[in-house]
Symmetry: D2
Subunit: 223 residues, 4 copies
Amino acid sequence: MLDSNIFKKLARGPQVVLIKDAAFVSAFTGLNPGDKVIDAGAGSGWLTVYLASIVGKEGSVTAYERRTEFAEIASKNIVKAGFESVAKVKVADIFLGIEETDLDLITLDLAGSPAVLKFAINSLKPKGYVVGFCPNIEQAKDFVIAGEEVGFTHIKTVECDEREWLIRPQGCRPVTMGLRHTSFLTFLRKPKEKLPEIKDNLENQQSEKTETISQSNETDLIK
Amino acid sequence: MLDSNIFKKLARGPQVVLIKDAAFVSAFTGLNPGDKVIDAGAGSGWLTVYLASIVGKEGSVTAYERRTEFAEIASKNIVKAGFESVAKVKVADIFLGIEETDLDLITLDLAGSPAVLKFAINSLKPKGYVVGFCPNIEQAKDFVIAGEEVGFTHIKTVECDEREWLIRPQGCRPVTMGLRHTSFLTFLRKPKEKLPEIKDNLENQQSEKTETISQSNETDLIK
Amino acid sequence: MLDSNIFKKLARGPQVVLIKDAAFVSAFTGLNPGDKVIDAGAGSGWLTVYLASIVGKEGSVTAYERRTEFAEIASKNIVKAGFESVAKVKVADIFLGIEETDLDLITLDLAGSPAVLKFAINSLKPKGYVVGFCPNIEQAKDFVIAGEEVGFTHIKTVECDEREWLIRPQGCRPVTMGLRHTSFLTFLRKPKEKLPEIKDNLENQQSEKTETISQSNETDLIK
Amino acid sequence: MLDSNIFKKLARGPQVVLIKDAAFVSAFTGLNPGDKVIDAGAGSGWLTVYLASIVGKEGSVTAYERRTEFAEIASKNIVKAGFESVAKVKVADIFLGIEETDLDLITLDLAGSPAVLKFAINSLKPKGYVVGFCPNIEQAKDFVIAGEEVGFTHIKTVECDEREWLIRPQGCRPVTMGLRHTSFLTFLRKPKEKLPEIKDNLENQQSEKTETISQSNETDLIK
């Protein structure tokens, strides 16, 4: 069991993803031990650590972060949490492309994230997810539209609200003040069979076909 | 990656825990591969499957269910989801006691759950969690009071709300109708050093001391 | 039009009812010009002023407040807002009884309010409302139970949530932090024909009968 | 007291404004007996009746509705509710202009409402309000931007949520299913001193000055 206090002990840099939202990301995508994940931008690595704690040693989390100072904080936090064998930070600009392939999940918590989706669709496994964190609703809308344009299915866009209660012998009530908003969470999924695209040469079509055949061997329940 | 559609394919019996709530349970307790869990009452086994998908082959989930017909549905669902090596259903009445020990997490989704807490405190590892699902607020209150009486720390009681948005080129808005309530989720935690209890003999005190010493070797971050 | 800024200009004493909740009280009870209201306890008179602004010169609001210092603040606020011809503060203990009769609405925002309901039922017109402000849910429950015991119909108990949005050219989103809870609002209504009570003399029965006859003349739409 | 059941008795045509939202409109604008209001589009007249019930005989509500069939339903509902001396329906297209002046409040519940704001600013009293009902967030944004362009101050944009509870001896909890969204409510206010506009002749400037002087006589608290 990951010590949930760990999140309080990690060094903080930029604004972090909250556990409530991380919870929705992993649960609604069905994240599992062994899964292969990209987390961009890493910030101080809080979400990276959370995702690493679930995919475990048989899985991997690659955290993209282009700002060196945050990449260093993230790396230190990963070591501090004991996940250096699962997660690593890559000082790279994800807007230039994604090298990794065969991914189960990509999380995008950065301004301009819709521009990353054209790379994401090719790096994910069929039925893999990309989840966008968008503070403003317009960003969520752009994310959905850009995602559908490159072939993703829009599963859903949600707000996650955690409302805490005071439970006391003398009387119970919700806390008076609290958090009202973090981000809109958008879940996009790569279709099982990627829709045919307009191809400019035969080679692409063949590799596409090969991928489709290999898919048919997967079990219908668990990838 | 667990196919999140799997939850739609499992046979349904009694009312099931929703993914939104299961998400909070695993994320706020820091559930990890290798963890040892009890889930009572299992119902049709949906939460059992979810928890099994996170703890993986190195972990275990024991689902208590006293009603034979639900135990059978739960067993079939576990097999259908491919987790028969991780999770098993035990046709037993958890109000009579918990045999398992050294647990990381116990989930209690059954009427009268406060009466189980006196067993739960002894079956959990130090810093382990018990999470109660209580539809009514009075049940959550009783759960907290009963938990504190046997030595648990009340971490928090929350409502988890998932609010879905329609994202459309012509305009975005939350969906009109939807779910307003499932359960109050209460998180109780066994203290790192269990509070001294009134002992009736010296032997118990010594074993308590030994446990405390062995704890000091654990890393402060990850159990 | 009442200057909505007026609420910022009134002297503050004890915690005040918020406009969002006052809005529900007047709208869901159908409060109108000419209505006769009791507001207890008055506190610094904010709700008194709000109610007075709706019932106008043909109506009346009597604010019960037993603490002299708050009664003075409330009186000054009523004058400051220009409603001295509509509302007055009565330094009295409502737990000892309500002298006024033929009321349209009684608002109860004080600890122990269920004990007032046995007086409220007799002071209200048929179809009149009593609205309770209860911070804790147990208080709301006691309020409903006590109300039903003396003959009220429980119309509903609600939470009123006002969620504010930042609307900006660069992006829209809900505000980050804010209010999560004030009070549970409980609406009890006196039945059109009061249920027969056990009478200890004939006189009471006759006055009761007279009241019932006069009711039949009221229009069905507007009292 | 307006019988709150009246809203159930009125004939329904198009989608109606809910009491929860009407409550916010009247309370946050400080609507009072004697106020002068325009309600567009009237639809079946529910909001018209609600507003009329507050402004009373000394006030007035003019309901704009360009679709004859809805105008007829609205008229019948106004009569049915007994407010024919307060409210009237005008079969007119508010996008062509607003004849009425010196208004306290204009409510706009129609597609394309931002285009009405240039008329609204001139028809309102200083410190008067216009409230927009926008189902989609983009509409609320357009409403705010268009309003600020013609001189309104954006007071706030909110969502009003009414969450109902089941209060029962055996246990209390929020209702399971319910309404999650109606409209974003946007409150725009005409400044006390209207900002100077570019004038094309001296006459306009003078009438503007006169208006400013007469304003200084109003009491600071109640218009």
